[in-house]
Symmetry: C2
Subunit: 128 residues, 2 copies
Amino acid sequence: MTSDTSQLSRRERQIMEIVYQQGRVTAAEVRERMPEAPSYSAVRAMLRILEDKGHLRHEQDGPRYVFLPTVPHEEARESALRRLVRTFFADSPEGAMAALLELEGDRLDEEALARIAARIREAQLEGR
Amino acid sequence: MTSDTSQLSRRERQIMEIVYQQGRVTAAEVRERMPEAPSYSAVRAMLRILEDKGHLRHEQDGPRYVFLPTVPHEEARESALRRLVRTFFADSPEGAMAALLELEGDRLDEEALARIAARIREAQLEGR
DNA sequence: AGCATGATGCTAAATTATTAGCATCAGTCG
DNA sequence: CGACTGATGCTAATAATTTAGCATCATGCT
């Protein structure tokens, strides 16, 4: 297991976000998405550092490398979720749920709401 | 408005998280909660930098300063939520809600689930 | 073939971040 | 009072991060 993401530097964090967002990316793609993007070779240098630190690995994809996170997506997002709930919601999942509804409610159509409601009912029935 | 939190360095980010978690903190309190905490004076120096950059402000509290974020808690968490949904949930709020339920469901008691369900019903009735 | 473009590996310089110490002040205690 | 502790303001040294250039290789095109 790689070290905690709270230890990532500024650029490292920017890159890791892009990698998780995309799933697998080339150096050029990372660069396109970086705020105030440095040179191509600077991006590659950072990617290599992240690989050396164990956060990323690469695969050959034709003439270029494609980079992937070493911590699986699922795991990383759980970790990020927990951290967010702890930092901003006094560790209350209910608060986070409410905020998501409030903030993103208008992006949830009828069907999505129904699906979430069903999940809630399920949780209620399971007494958990 | 201060610059984007994605530009925060390693220690800056650690400190901002602590500040948001606590609401208002002294330098000593920040230091207690930092991973691999540096010296008291190093923490103070970082707090001052964050203040210079506009992320924090301070108030006098007896013989010491207490630090507060300049971006209101509500705003900061919305921003963090959006970023999380975008990075890890392909910008799908439904996905984020499902993951929260999955991950933290066992921390939601009957009453909390009922309250969330009520919020969902409300959203459904409002056709949003 | 030569040239251009896109890629990697590597290096090191430049820049920024992080660190902690010193001087000074304020408050408390014996 | 002096000593001690806890605080601030400030500085600069050190460490870490970030940056980009060079050499080289591979591929495709004329």
